[in-house]
């Protein structure tokens, strides 16, 4: 596509700004594999600031089309933040009410952003993590099934479908036959499942890897340690060619390096993704002498700014 035309595109709705995100080459953090191209797809360029705009838009539009979501219902789901921002944005743009269940310890920024769109927040026990939020939203919906539309991003096929038709296709459009590897982290697993399915259909084999936190108690917000979690129904463990474990510290350190060395201030899940991508690049360099690895930048780092140390009485 003509770059100038693309950059100056005129849109009739904010929802048309979702997708077609840029793919950026990483030079410095991947210099341990100089013969391998490493690219990161900047999903924070979506209007809601994260990769989650894709599934939220798709889940809502699909539900509106077949009548599951109507204007007299409230959309409700559990989310640690980015999906909530995306639902809130799409809901505001289309005129649908949104309520979100999130663990009480999500960052204040997340709460403020979603509330800015007019979204109602319901808090679950921070000790129970995201699984506690899932259990609470199910209870609320069970008590009032007619009042709510519960998209359930963990089991909704529109979630991976957004990546099959969007993320995966866009990567192929941008790189064609050059891409040899793809890796992304597992949360709902929507990004990994949908993108991997599309890339596996390509005529030449693309080795697709899923990254997950090494430990059950981890600090890679947005990612799930599958062995100790409620496994999302959309997750097919046999789909990825490999599962790569990422230590929290490695993901955090890579986030810092991406900001300082590449000018990419990203969240920790992106740090984990890029760490895994560099591992794969090093392996490709050693075993094949070259290659092209693609991963995802899920969101920007400013979404995770914690309160300053002197703000002693903060709640998150």
């Amino acid at each position: 596509m003509n770059r100038n035309l693309f950059r100056s595109r005129r849109l009739s709705s904010i929802l048309d700004a979702v997708g077609n995100t840029p793919l950026v080459r990483l030079e410095r953090v991947a210099r341990s594999a100089p013969g391998v191209e490493v690219y990161v797809k900047l999903e924070f360029c979506n209007p809601g600031g994260s990769v989650k705009d894709r599934p939220a838009k798709r889940m809502m539009l699909d539900a509106i089309e077949d009548g599951r979501l109507t204007k007299d219902k409230i959309l409700i789901d559990s989310t640690s933040g980015n999906t909530g921002v995306a639902y809130s944005l799409v809901g505001a743009a289309l005129g649908y009410r949104v309520a979100l269940v999130m663990p009480k310890n999500v960052t204040k920024a997340r709460k403020d952003i979603t509330q800015a769109f007019g979204t109602e927040l319901i808090f679950s026990d921070p000790m129970e993590g995201s699984d506690g939020a899932i259990r609470l939203v199910r209870k609320i919906v069970d008590e009032n099934p007619d009042k709510y539309f519960y998209p359930d991003q963990y089991s909704n096929p529109s979630n991976p479908a957004a990546h099959y038709h969007g993320t995966g296709q866009e990567i192929l459009d941008a790189l064609g036959d050059r891409i040899t590897h793809f890796v992304t982290g597992l949360g709902t697993s929507g990004t990994a499942m949908g993108t991997t399915r599309r890339l596996h259909e390509h005529s030449r084999k693309i080795y697709c890897v899923a990254a997950e936190p090494l430990e059950a108690l981890h600090g890679l917000e947005g990612l799930k340690h599958m062995p100790s979690s409620i496994v999302p129904p959309i997750y097919d463990k046999d789909l990825p060619d490999e599962i790569l474990s990422v230590p929290t510290e490695a993901g955090w350190d890579m986030s810092d390096r991406l900001a300082a060395e590449e000018g990419l201030h990203v969240g920790h899940s992106t740090g984990a993704n890029v760490w895994a991508a560099v591992k794969l690049a090093e392996r490709a360099q050693k075993e094949q002498g070259g290659g092209c690895v693609v991963t995802i930048a899920c969101d920007r780092g400013d979404r995770y700014f914690a309160p300053m140390k002197w703000e002693k009485r903060y709640t998150w």
């Binding site: 990769v51 989310t79 640690s80 933040g81 980015n82 999906t83 663990p103 310890n105 999500v106 921070p126 000790m127 129970e128 993590g129 995201s130 699984d131 506690g132 991003q153 963990y154 992304t184 982290g185 597992l186 949360g187 709902t188 697993s189 929507g190 990004t191 990994a192 936190p213 430990e215 059950a216 108690l217 981890h218 600090g219 890679l220 917000e221 947005g222 990612l223 799930k224 340690h225 100790s228 979690s229 999302p232 929290t248 510290e249 955090w252 899940s269 995802i296 899920c298 140390k309 002693k312």
Partner: protein, 90 residues
């Protein structure tokens, strides 16, 4: 005795218990006592520099980083919470 609230991901180490009790006069001593009954838990919480960066330990409602860290004094009846990072969905 101090009560320690255990988050879901660590309950494999406490036989599924949501709360356990341990003695000690500082947070550090309580964690050492916890390790005796639930081997492996200390490694999940601490590294050589102290509390791991992504683990939050609360005494009551206060993060111990804003108190005296691992040297924070505790008394019988206090409650320490191990609060996990959020695990959502990418």
């Amino acid at each position: 005795m101090v009560t320690i609230r255990i988050p879901t991901p660590l309950r494999t180490l406490t036989g599924g218990e949501e709360q356990v009790k341990a003695p000690g006069e500082t947070v550090r001593a309580v964690i050492d006592a916890l390790e005796k009954n639930h081997p492996g838990i200390k490694d999940r919480l601490l590294d050589e520099k102290g509390v791991r960066r992504f683990v939050n330990l609360y005494l009551g409602d206060e993060d111990i980083r804003f108190l005296d860290g691992l040297d924070t004094k505790v008394k019988s009846g206090d409650e320490i919470s191990i609060v996990p990072a959020i695990a959502g969905g990418a």
